[in-house]
Amino acid sequence: MDDRREPTTAERRAGIVDLPAAASRELVPVARPQLDEDSPTVDAERGGDVDTWGRSDKLRALTRTVYEPFYKHWFRAEWEGFEHLPTEGGALLVANHAGAIPSDAPVIMHGIERDLHRPVYGLAEYLFRRMPAIGTMWSRAGGVTANPDNAYRLLHDDRELVLVFPEGTKGTGKLYQDRYQLARFGRGGFVEIAMRAGVPIIPIAVVGAEESMPIVWKSRRLAKLIGLPYFPITANMLLLGPLGLVTYFPAKFRIRVLPPIHFDESPDQERYSRSRVMDASELVRRQIQDALYDMLRTRKSIWT
């Protein structure tokens, strides 16, 4: 066989040869001490503190400092049943969701991190991850896309607190006239994850987010055009113009944490009974709905 065979013309025409650039780019190995079986693992100091989930403790601390006045003086968040939140171990926090740009997630996450000194990871739409700059900030602040595998890993392997809004955009995209009427809780996926991870669900009822940025009108056609889940006109926009996009009304936030719900199902099963999952999902939904009605009965004013 000819040793120094050049590629044939046919091969060259068909492109079945490496491009000339490929040949010249290989590097010449420089001797480096080879590691053997017993050498310790090579690690290095890190400059940043972004974890596997993209969350940065430093950035989170900075956000807390900036957000604290809003939490304390604007929304005047008030907690009930805070003792139901576990000081260790994984738990899935399930809350109702409202406001055109939801104001409940930051309030809940801020309150828990501030007083329980535990990080909270907030599960949210894939949409966030696609947005330049906003997506990065969202991720550094503890946002994680709501992929079942992510949720399971956070709860089971990392034993963290995870906040989820099973209503999703159905909750945030509802009109003001439907306020505090819980939408469907997805397909109960959140229950299945809690069962699989072997962690309790802690329902949380939030009052105030609905009034902080109420939607008075929405356009399905415009939403489709821009690729958003909904395109709202909020009362804030009507009153404040473009400033209304970023300004919440100072509605008083009341947050009630309900007792944890534990499941008897053994964790890590391949599949869980659909009816059991849907029952549990409905139970959580009803508990939150009842708590909301109860809280609204005693609320004398939206603002104080």
Binding site: A22, R25, V28, R32, V42, V50, T52, R129, N147, R153
Partner: protein, 346 residues
């Protein structure tokens, strides 16, 4: 053990053959490639093949190899044309498996070096891919498509040949100061490209760990798919600052169009796979391979730091001196086969 290494002239093939030569339990190493080997080899027999390996069946029969290490899957699309990629990856693997699965074939182990590109990178992805995880978006680059085809062949092959152990190793992007990849090229630039507003979490594996993983698979019975990736993920910004580089942003819209002039000017060759990777990053769950007993020599931070050190050395002493090794068939034949050479039994 008698081993056939495909892609002998590639970085992986060469390093794998060198490691195999050092092992007393390996009787014979046969290396196959379209080009000459680039590293000095002592007893590996080099056979030149065409890129689709049509000669394979004869070699397997003649040399009676029991283990095939298939390192010759192209995962860097900037190196070869789309057509060559298809020939090498898909047709090459097809011929390889046909030879290995022939009725009287002596092959009992097939180890394939695939890539994390089969998972893609997207906004809907899990943050850490398990081996059984499915892609969340259809593949849209040649490399991804060809690797998925190769993996489908392998699944069928493993099912049809239960007596053969098929080990599929999916390596995340490799970084190392001796290896030339799009990532090492980008990190060698004065300023490193990023996509404005995105800071993806990335996971690399050190080049030494790649060779070690291939070797580990030859000595252990590991049927199935295994992710190979270092512990930990780092944001692109942190990787760049560890290497001491500033970043320059490409626009988040029309990124591909903006990258094209850079490609034409040969400033940086952004592979199409990067458009997603530099947005969303990719993480791989490496626990299964660790549970199988493999120990990584480098963490993710260790990998980047080792690369940064290599770069600092390079800065002082320069790189790419003329290759110290050139393959000469006559010389190699002389040392391997001439009765005049005194061979010491080890």
């Amino acid at each position: 053990m008698r081993v056939l290494v495909t892609g002998l002239s590639t970085f992986w093939g060469g390093r794998a053959a060198q490691s195999l030569e050092a092992r007393p339990d390996v009787e014979v190493v046969v290396g196959l490639d379209t080009r000459e080997p680039r590293v000095p080899l002592e007893r590996t027999e080099f056979v030149r093949a065409d890129s689709s390996y049509s000669i394979l069946q004869r070699i397997v029969q003649a040399t009676d190899v029991d283990t095939v290490v298939h390192t010759h899957l192209v995962v860097d699309s900037t190196r070869v044309s789309g057509r060559a990629l298809h020939e090498t990856n898909v047709i090459g693997t097809m011929n390889l498996l046909a030879a290995a699965g022939a009725p009287d074939s002596p092959v009992r182990n097939v180890i394939v070096k695939s890539s994390g590109y089969v998972y893609g990178a997207g906004s809907r992805d899990p943050y850490l891919f398990r081996e059984e995880a499915k892609r969340t978006s259809p593949p849209h680059t040649n490399v991804e498509r060809s690797l998925l085809e190769v993996e489908a062949f392998l699944r069928d092959f493993a099912a049809d040949n239960p007596h053969i152990t098929v080990t599929l190793l999916r390596f995340t992007n490799v970084l190392g100061d001796q290896l030339d990849t799009p990532f090492s090229q980008a990190l060698r630039l004065p300023v490193v490209p990023e996509i404005l507003g995105f800071d993806p979490r990335l996971q690399f594996v050190h080049e030494d760990d790649v060779v070690a993983a291939l070797m580990y698979a030859t000595t252990h019975d590991l049927p199935g798919v295994f992710n190979v990736a270092a512990d930990g993920l780092l944001p692109w910004s942190e990787i760049c600052s560890m290497v001491g580089k500033r970043r320059v942003a490409l626009p988040p819209l029309f990124t591909n169009a903006a990258a094209e002039p850079l490609r034409l000017l040969r400033v940086v060759n952004l592979p199409p796979e990067w458009l997603d990777l530099l947005r969303f990053g990719r993480g791989m769950d490496n626990r299964r391979f660790k549970e199988a007993g493999f120990r990584y020599r480098y963490t993710m931070a260790g990998t980047v730091e080792a690369f940064a050190r290599g770069l600092r050395l390079e800065k002082t002493i320069g790189t790419k001196a003329a290759p110290s090794y050139k393959y000469e068939r006559e010389v190699e034949d002389f040392f391997r086969h001439s009765p005049a050479v005194v061979r010491h039994e080890s």
